[in-house]
Structures are given as structure tokens and as C-alpha cells.
Symmetry: D2
Amino acid sequence: MTDRAYSLFEEQQGARGINLNEVKAKLKGLSIETPSWGYGDSGTRFKVFQKEGVPRNPFEKFEDAAQVHKLTGLAPSVAIHIPWDKVEDYGKLKSHAESLGLAIGAINPNLFQEDDYMLGSVTNADAAIRRKATDHLLECVDIAKETGSRDISLWFADGTNYPGQGNIRKRKAWMQESLGEMYKALAPNMRMLIEYKCFEPAFYHTDLADWGMAYNLAQKLGPQAEVLVDTGHHLQGANIEHIVAYLIDEKRLGGFHFNSRKYADDDLIVGTVNPYELFLIFYQILSAASDRDEAIQSCVNNIAYMIDQSHNIEAKIPAMLRSVLNVQTQFAKALLVNHEEVEAAANRGDVLAAEHAVRSAFEFDVAPLLRSYREEQGLSVDPMGDYLASSYGKDIAVRGKGGASW
Amino acid sequence: MTDRAYSLFEEQQGARGINLNEVKAKLKGLSIETPSWGYGDSGTRFKVFQKEGVPRNPFEKFEDAAQVHKLTGLAPSVAIHIPWDKVEDYGKLKSHAESLGLAIGAINPNLFQEDDYMLGSVTNADAAIRRKATDHLLECVDIAKETGSRDISLWFADGTNYPGQGNIRKRKAWMQESLGEMYKALAPNMRMLIEYKCFEPAFYHTDLADWGMAYNLAQKLGPQAEVLVDTGHHLQGANIEHIVAYLIDEKRLGGFHFNSRKYADDDLIVGTVNPYELFLIFYQILSAASDRDEAIQSCVNNIAYMIDQSHNIEAKIPAMLRSVLNVQTQFAKALLVNHEEVEAAANRGDVLAAEHAVRSAFEFDVAPLLRSYREEQGLSVDPMGDYLASSYGKDIAVRGKGGASW
Amino acid sequence: MTDRAYSLFEEQQGARGINLNEVKAKLKGLSIETPSWGYGDSGTRFKVFQKEGVPRNPFEKFEDAAQVHKLTGLAPSVAIHIPWDKVEDYGKLKSHAESLGLAIGAINPNLFQEDDYMLGSVTNADAAIRRKATDHLLECVDIAKETGSRDISLWFADGTNYPGQGNIRKRKAWMQESLGEMYKALAPNMRMLIEYKCFEPAFYHTDLADWGMAYNLAQKLGPQAEVLVDTGHHLQGANIEHIVAYLIDEKRLGGFHFNSRKYADDDLIVGTVNPYELFLIFYQILSAASDRDEAIQSCVNNIAYMIDQSHNIEAKIPAMLRSVLNVQTQFAKALLVNHEEVEAAANRGDVLAAEHAVRSAFEFDVAPLLRSYREEQGLSVDPMGDYLASSYGKDIAVRGKGGASW
Amino acid sequence: MTDRAYSLFEEQQGARGINLNEVKAKLKGLSIETPSWGYGDSGTRFKVFQKEGVPRNPFEKFEDAAQVHKLTGLAPSVAIHIPWDKVEDYGKLKSHAESLGLAIGAINPNLFQEDDYMLGSVTNADAAIRRKATDHLLECVDIAKETGSRDISLWFADGTNYPGQGNIRKRKAWMQESLGEMYKALAPNMRMLIEYKCFEPAFYHTDLADWGMAYNLAQKLGPQAEVLVDTGHHLQGANIEHIVAYLIDEKRLGGFHFNSRKYADDDLIVGTVNPYELFLIFYQILSAASDRDEAIQSCVNNIAYMIDQSHNIEAKIPAMLRSVLNVQTQFAKALLVNHEEVEAAANRGDVLAAEHAVRSAFEFDVAPLLRSYREEQGLSVDPMGDYLASSYGKDIAVRGKGGASW
């Protein structure tokens, strides 16, 4: 059945002008970084449910992440969080990762879990605390140099809960000052990826509240500063794919933190709430990928696709497997959009045909394509099934409860 | 200046047809229950900032709450949470409360902090867990009998994070079954106050998601079941005062959990984000208070006003002081609405005059009124100032850090 | 290719336990009513773009609607709006409809386009206007008797723009009074479908603002009153499928007005913004369809599926074709859910498997199924293509511009 | 009573360190432009209620606007919309305005009411339509030169309703191209104020969707391009005062379109939904006004305060009176903030004191201050009362119904 399904699919797509060999080549280019903290315990403010078998240290996190990559071929790197993943010897962690077929990915500083940062880290009215926060950023640059990481992902919890609590404009200046100092410390090949978030944990104003603030800051800092889009960090109704297209056009889209949300920053498994939105994000990216402007192409090619979830009731490793597979599914569907067809319809003002040309790609079932691709790549044809059939989940139960968390 | 201010205010209001003696009598009728957990540590999922001096046990929580009541005369009762406030001997806690001039208020069961409840408590697919949850509810009824509490406030975290995770209709039936059993255990003078919440910690569906679900359930259960409105539990844009008016009209508004929110369930200090909304809630309540229907009057007279905040960066006791004072301020302003004027304008279709008649009451400064009222009642004229000038905040520092939290 | 695709699909679904003959039988049961006003001009408050060829009268609207039904077999009835579709002789309109293979569907009173209704229709403070509005409702009941329509769909624009503008509780009573009078006039087989809407055109409070208010009113009126869910009438974040499941469980879901929205009541073509949401609505309906309770089955079987869009830039007939086809597509996908699989996973607490069991049905491509079904039914295999290839769109251009609008 | 009230208020504010003479001087600096179209009929997509006496032409609009200014001293200029206010001879309109004590304010091009613009104006895929749209912009620059207007306010309805309908990045480039051409045509003292809007009438993507897009475009165009903040054009939850502070800090805040909203772009009377938000906007502006940076001061001093409402059920002139008065009220309250007090509390990390320092200014009743100020300025002490007591509203009834509308 599988073979027949694929050859039928190939025929069908060929008739639409879609060459599956090209599609597969692009599938091969997709890498999705998983976060070390996605393998540990997390929760809501009401409760963290501790799972049996969560990793007890950064080394075990990489072991779990290796399962995801081994089965899918999709997740060759792992983002780390400092100090959650602080180790004596990053060389050792790097070797460990490499021995598992992995690389250390983006470095994520943490400026929200110390009492000092209650009223802000780099935007704190207290210069000593700003200094401490900036030093942590510099420390992370050093770590990135040790781990060979290209990207430092910057999310700041900084903000206020009430009008008057902080001077918005001063805090803006302090943010720029601190990041300016960090920027200077970057190696030439490194990037700062600046994240924004509309709210939480700050409930009145967040210093970097939207893409515009992150983008403007990146522009001031220089070409090595780019914007990081977390799909859960927008107000209800925001058109995320518009922001994505916009940032690419400005050559400032550095990467994504993928996750799903229905309400606020729910941090659910990617692709489970509104899979069409994820597809539309990739449609915009792929639409820009063929732009004649090489700077735009370069931006697209360097987008860091990362998962950042805080799924708190599901088994950890399968949840991550599902996440990267869902990303791959929507990416594959977006590869089936016939951009010429969309453009032609749009240019002649045929709204219905243009819309249909996009949506109909989403409606295809890409399972035959992905099976064929996985076979060719020597990957598991059924990564979730194979994982569940393996003993890994049971084996790690010896770790017990109470492992890593945030 | 104070006397002149009050006599001027009296003159001004008299000219509008507002009799300040009647206003003061109504001010005297306002009681706001504070929550025991509002005196302990709380936070966001990112961090709980531990404060020095937070109470280490239920007894100390009542001591802190007594400060709020002593200074304001507004907060004569304290809601407790089980098991956070579980004690061997509730009689002892009750005596302690009474010795401080306080009463034990509503009992709040907790069905969200045990591993068993990860996938639901009274709506769990596992009958044994539902049994356990129902038993906890029954235990709380028993506690209420011991403490002499009239109200049991029911908030359920129950819900799902993904489509398919649970059968929505079965869960609805289980909820009704469990609460039906609890209902039967109530003493004749007791009430179940059923809370609803649009999301968090469940991110796909919440079993009691809106007022309609809570109301419908209350109707099925019987007259001792009423709806509890938490001002932070609505989707963006919801007109809360409309819901309040509606529930009063159906004689099913049991009480409030007051707090402020700009985004989600931010749980900020009451009256700090949109004070006009709080005023408009009281405007609806006071508009119904003079209804000829005695059942409506009775409903209004039995509304339980309760604070439920999780302010996490402010000093605990002053934050609670501010909260009850802010409620009093907006209540006082609402008492200045001339309902005849509003109705007359509405009846003649004069939109501008009707709107103005409501809003202009909000624009008065009620400080002179409240000062005069406090003097007459022998209360502190400046509760916040007096608290800060007292040694209480410093004295409790001996409790150290790491007190009660949730 | 088509035959191979279908047999492969059949094999695939068979392996999952899905019998396509049963699926096709259920597909045959799907009827979607289109609205007469969906064939005329409409727009936003900024501009109505007049299209060439829009129908000039109710008779032409039915002719256009007949195209949609002829090609899809999905749209056998047409809802009408009074007075937009007022005619001298409804018998004549009915015969005209029947000659086109159509029936007259729901009657939609209009209580928002006369100056008298500026401050409310059935909730107006002026008794004479309430009388006039109620008389219009009674007139619509009479029309329904003439047209043989089972359903009267009730949407009220009634609400206020400012606090104080109207007495919320009085308006509630007036609404109930008016609808109570209308209810008594219903023939035994007729239904009142009560719609709700969170806002627009009222911007402070809307008298029937949410499902809870519509449901509560329906309960008071009697068993012939049910709730009508317009998918565009909710606050951001509302879980519509939850409301759907809830109303079915209460046997009060009367029907749908389908359309798409990203922001407010955008009234776009169904299934274009978040197709997964439409699928999940059908998943809930189909999950209830097999309930043992006959009253629930009866509720499900009598749900009126109706389109209510105001697509304003697309060609009218193709937009309606797309709409009914999109509904059919998501309905077909929902028919592929294996409910036993979902329930089993949910019951054992396997969140990931339960979610996957639902979502994976959505990921299938139902094109082979629908092609096969259409062939068997003697319908157009490519309704949109056939319509565009026909001369109908050009033929109606003789009608010119400036046809029916609202 | 009035005198006593003011002297008490003066004493009270003096004790807080607020000098009322300085406050009054700043009150005198407040000018609020009213829009010509605010005097004509407007409505929702459901209905435009025609009012008796609405102006029939631009000249009459200025006459109505003159009433507002005469009574309040607040509204010395009137924004005009082209082509709604197109006249043969702008010199004549200008003289007419001046004879009424008014000036012609901002010019507002209209690029959304012609069939050509259905799929975009300056972002239309059709170069001829873009040309036409750009020509209209250039025409407006010419008109501004004739009328002596400093500002041209640019709001674009441009956007799409569906994915694929338009190429987002190409449209971005076309927007920039068109506005670049317009920019060159500006006289040196003129400004382009670029407005943004999250949605409506476009329901998928709007080309200038948020402040970031407007700001980025302004930056590219040059120093004469600034951002215009319409308070109704944001997604739910957006912190508008944060955006305001941010744009001032970047010296790119050009002006405001004030109105109120609870849901979408409701366009209600300013200050009626959440007066605290309006106060907080002014708090941010006044906080920046004393910045040492002269460029920031200059930005603040040149903010164009404009009303842009579409109140559709209220009497036109009184609604505008109320609007400018509400702006003045909140501005006056914001002038009572003691910024040193706020800053001191913020700097010492006293969240409660900082919040209180802001909110307590809002709680003062500024009626005595405004009465005193109006008396000193020789203005009506009760503008609304005086207007209603005048015969103007009745006199204009001779104009009949069916006047200007949009």
C-alpha cells in the first residue's frame, strides 16, 4: 500500500507541477532544535507534575534528545539554558552531545529566576542588578564560544505589573545599554536572537512587548542582532505569518520558538491547536526563499527553527517527537504550494483561486511523502511507534522522579 | 481642610439628590472577605518570590488579616483553602480568629495540587479519582460545619489541553454527579458558590468555562448553588457587569472574587487596571438593590465580596489593604449614581445624558466622604499610612522567609 | 488515477476500522442551507462593493442558489430575510424554489434596519417600538407557515453603546416578553433558533451576548426554542466546539451559521481561517451522534447547518460554492475519526494518543472520497470547475450592478 | 460653592506639590482637532442612522465645529477628508473656517471608497491603480499647501481577506514606493502621519497592521514622517501607553486619533469605556515632556491630538463636545501626577507607592479646576449645558435629513 500511495502521490503532485525530488531535497534541509528544558519537568503556576524518568542533569537531557533525533533525523541540536544546564566543563558536554550525534545549539541566558530580578534584570532601576544581569549575558557569550554555538536566544521577563512601577523610557535605554555591551562581546559569526512577548510574567508592560520593539532594538545593535518569533507570544488575533514575512523582508528574522496556544502563552505541543497557522508561516518563508535578493535568501536559510514548549501533562520524549514531526508535516505541506499559481491568481485579482491555491496544498495528506522520504534517509518510518515499542521510556524510569525542572 | 472638604462634598451631593447619610449607611454594609492565601507567597510559573515575614501557618495568616480589618473595618472574615489551611482543630482556629475580631469565611477546596488530578478531579475518567475528589468536597462541607462557614467556593482546574484528551460531555455529567452528591451534604443555611474560568491551567477546554456553564449547573443542583464571578476569569472583551446584572436577575449571583487583569488571569491588586469596570459592576448591583422583587433584593444582600489575588511582587499586607480600600472607593463612587437620573435619560432615549449620569458619579473624589465615614466609625483615617507607620511589618520579619505558599 | 486513489483510500481507512460505505451514507445526510442575502451585495461599514450580476429580487436569488445545489447536492434550501425577501405571494416564491429543486428554509426577521430600532427593537424602552418589533416577529411566523419553513432564526442587534444607556435587566425582561408572545404563535412543528453575539453593532452590551443568555432564554420559552451558534459571534479564544458539545448535551443546539473569522465577526468564507476548528465542531457533533440517549440523537439529527457570510470582495456564487464544499470537506474528515480509539486513549490517560487519534483524521486527504461520492450521486465531480466553465456567471451579468444588498 | 471648591482644591494640590497656575498654563496648551466627518452621519455595516440637521457640505461642518470650539476653547482646528470635503476653492473654505475662529487641520486622503481599491490602493497588484492612489496622495499634498495644513493623516484600508490573496512582501514594497513619492512632494514644514490598524476592513492581513510597521516605514521615509496612534486600532490587551512612550522616545509620535473601544474599532466617544487608559496615555506624554532631550520635548510639543470617532446613535455636536471635554478631563488629571513622587517610589522599588502615586492623581475630581480655568479664559463654565440651552441644535434641523455621511 505504501508504495502505491507514494507513486500515486507523485503522479498527483507532478500533475500540479510539483517535483517531489525537489520537495525531498528541501525536507532534508529542515532542522529543528529541541530545548534541553523540554525534557524536564515543567508546569503551570498551579502545579508542576513531576514525571518519572526525567533527566537529572544536562547530560541525560542530551541522551533523551538523541532519541528524538535518531528516530526522526530532524533534531540534530539542543538548546541549553544557563544556569539550568550549567556544567563545569562545556567541552565535556559538547563531546557528550557529539557522541550522541548531536550538537549544542543556542545558549539561553536566564534572567528571571533570582530574587534580584523581581523588578527587572537589564532594566532594573538598580545599576548593580543591571550590572549583574549584563555579566550573566557576557558569561553566556563566553559559554557560546566554548560550545561553538552560533546563536544566543534572549528572552527577558522584564516588565512591570502596574503603571508607575517603572519608567518605561528609562528601562528602554537600560535594555539597549546592556545589550549593546553584550553585542560587542559577540564573535563575528555569532548572533543575538531577540525575543518579544506581549505579557507574562509581567502584567502591565513588558519591556520587549512585540516584534516592533525587538526589531528596532536589533537594528540599533547591528547586523548580528535578529528577531526571534515565539509563536505563543502574541496578542489574540495577531497575524504571525505577516510578521514573519515582514521580518524576512527586513532581513531580521533570526529564528522561531515553536509551540501552540489557544489563549495565552499556553506552550502546548506544536501544531495541535491551529495547524493551518503553522503551514501559513512556512508558506511565507518558502515564498521568500526564492526571492532574487540574496540577502533575503540568506536570511531564510539561516532561520533557526527551535521548539520551545512547556507541555506539562504529556510524556516528555514522545511530546517532543510529536512536536518535531508536526513541524515537518506542515513544512512538507507548504512545500506543495505552487507559488506561480498563487501569484498568477493574485495578480489577476482572483481572490478565490488565490486562496484555494494556498489552502489546497494544506489539504493534501503528506504521509506517503514522509514515509518515502524517511525510507530513503534510512530513518524510522514510524518514529512514534518505534519509540513507544522501544524500551527507552521504561529504562529511564530508574532515574525516578524529581529530575530537572524549571 | 478635611472638614471643609466634607461639608462641600455633602453640599454638592445634596444638590444632586444624594443623601450622604444613606450613603454612609450603605458603606457600613460593605464587607470584603480576604483570602488566607493572599498573605502567603505566590507567583507565576516562572518564579515565586519568597517574602520575608509571610505567615508560616493558618494562625499567622489570620493575624495578618486582622491588621487589614483593624485598620479598615472592611475585612471581617477570611477565606481558607483546604488543605493549605488544614488544622487539627478548626474550633481552635475559629477561636483564634474570633479573638482577633475575625470570622472564618468561605471554605475553598483544592483539587489541583495532587498528582492524581493531573487529568481532572471530579471529571477524571478514573472513577476512583472522582471518588477521592468528591470525598474532599464532602470533607470541606464538614469543615464548613465546624467553622460555621456559610459558603464553599468551588473552583475546578479541570479541563483538557488537547482535543480528544477527554470526553467533554461525559466530564460534564461527572461534574454534575459529584456536585450533586456534595449538594446533598450541605446544611440548609450553606451555599455552594460555583466559579468558572475561561482557561488556565487547562488550555484547550475547561469544564466550567463560563458563567453559563456555572449557572446551568447551579440551576440543576438547587437553590443553594449559586455562581461565583472571578473578575479575572473572562475572555478579553467580556462585559462582566452585564453578566453580573444577568445573574442577579436570575437570583443566582453568589459572590465575587475580585482582582485585576489586563491580559489573562493576572491576579493583580483590585482596581488598578480598569477601576471604571469595578465601578460599573457596583453600579449594576446597586441598580438591582432597589428592585421591588424581594428575591432580587435578597440575592444582592447576600453577595459575598471576596478578594482573590495572587499579587507576587508587592508586600503582602499592604497589597491587601490597598485591595479592600480600592473596592471601597469604587463602591462609594457607585453609591453616588443617581439612578432616577440615569433611568429618566435612558427612557427618553438621551444616550449622552444617560452615559454622563453614570460616568459623572465615577469622576467624584470620594476621599472626603471616606475620611468622614472612617472618623465616625472610629477607624483609621489613613489605613495605609498607619499600617506603614506601625511596626507590624517589621515585627513579622522574624518569621523569616519560606512561609506559606501555593 | 481517481479510481486508484479511492481504492487505496478505502484500503487505508478499512485498516483503521472506518467503513467508507457508512461514511458515504452520512455524507448523504449533510444539507447546508445557504442564505438568500449571501448572493447579494454586502460589505463593511467602509464600503459595499457592488458586483455585476447580483440578483435583483428574491426569485433571482433562488436561481443563483440553485446553481450551488445543482453542482454540489449540498444546498437544497435557502434561508430568506424579511423584509429583504418580502414578496406579495410566498406561494409563488415557494413554487419557484421548488421548480429549481430548492425549498425555502429558515425565515430571518430583520429588526435592525429601521430608524425606530436605533435604541433597540424588542428591548426598546418605548413600548410602541417593542410592539412593532414583536409584530414583525409574528409576521415572520405567518410567513413561515406560508413557506412551510420549520425554523425562524432570530438575531437581534439590540444592545447599548454606553453604560447607563439602557437598563440591562429591564431589557432582558422585555426580550423574554416579546419572544414569549412569538413562541405562542409557533406551529407545533416550528422552531425558534435564538442567536447570540458578543458585540456589533452594539459596542457596550448586547442583550443576547453569549450562548448562556440564548440558552437560558430558550429554556424559559419551551422546547421549541433552541440555540443558534454563529461561528463568528464569539470573543477571541472561545472554544466553540465546547459550546457545541454542551448545547447538544442539553438538547438545545438548534443550528449553525457558518462563516470564518480571524478577528471579530469577519464573515469570511467558511473554512478559510481555521479549518481545524470546523473539523473539531463536527467531531463533537459526530461524537454525540452515537449517544444512546435518543433525545441527544434527535437533537443532532435536527441541527440546521446554515451558511451566513458576508464575503464582500469575492464573486458571490463561487464563494458560496466554496463555502458549502469546505463544510463538506471538514465534515468528511470528521467522519474518519475513530471514536473508539479516541475514547480508549482518553480513558487510559494517554493524552498524546488521544490527541493524535483526533488530529490524524483531519490530516487525511478526503478528495478521493468526495470524488467517489459525487460520482455515485451523479453530481459534478468538480463543482467549482464546472461552475466556472459554465456560462452562468456571464449570463447573469445582464442584471447589471446595483442588485440586492443589505 | 464653586469658589470654595477651587480654593480647597488649590490648597490640597499645593500640599502635594502641584502648582495650579502651572497646571492651568498647560491646560491652555491643549488643542484637540475635531474631524469634519464626525459631524456627519455614520454607522455600522448594519445601518447608518440619518440624523436631522447634519451638515450638508464642508462649510456647514465647520459651522458645527465652531460651536464646539466656541464653548470649550479646545478645538480650534478641523481635519478634513478628501474627497468628502472636496471643494472648488480651498481658499474660500479656509476663509470660512477663519471667520468662525477655526483653522483647517489635517488633510485625510481617502483610498477606500472607490471600486478600484477593492483589492488595495497603494498596494494594489495593478500598477495603474497604484498610480491613481498615489496621485490622490499627491493631490492631498497640494490641498494641504492650499489650506496651510501641517499634517496629512494617512490611513490605508489596504490588506487582504485570505492567505494568498496578495503578496505581503510585494505590497510592502509598493506601499513604501508610493509613500516615498508622496514624501518628496511635502513642503519642508509638513508632516505625514502614518496610521496603523490591526484589522477592518481587511480581515486576514492589513498592510500597516501595527505601530512597528508604521514606525519602520516612517523611519525609511525620513524625519517628516511620523506615526499616528488611533486608540481603537489595537488588538485586545495592547498596552497603548507603552507604545506611546516608546514612540516618543524614538521621536516619532506624530499624533493621535482618539476614540473609545471595548471590542474592536468601535469608534465610541472618547473616554467612555476606559477613562484610566486615556489618563495613562497622558501620564506617559507628560512624563516625557520634561525630558532633558530637546528632541523629545519637541516631539511631545508637536503631537497632534485629534478626535476620530464614528459615534452613530448620539446627537453629533454634543457627542463631539463630550469627546473634547473628556480628553481635557483626563489631561487635567494627568497634570496632577507628581512625577518626582512616582520616580522616587519606583527607584526604591516600592511598587505599591509608585502605583498609588499615579492612580491617586486619577482619583481627584478636576471639576473645580476646570471651572476655574474656564472662567479665567472667558469660556463657558458648562459647555454642554450651554450648548443644549442654545437654539443651535434646533436651528440646524432645517437642514433636514440625509446630510453628509461616509
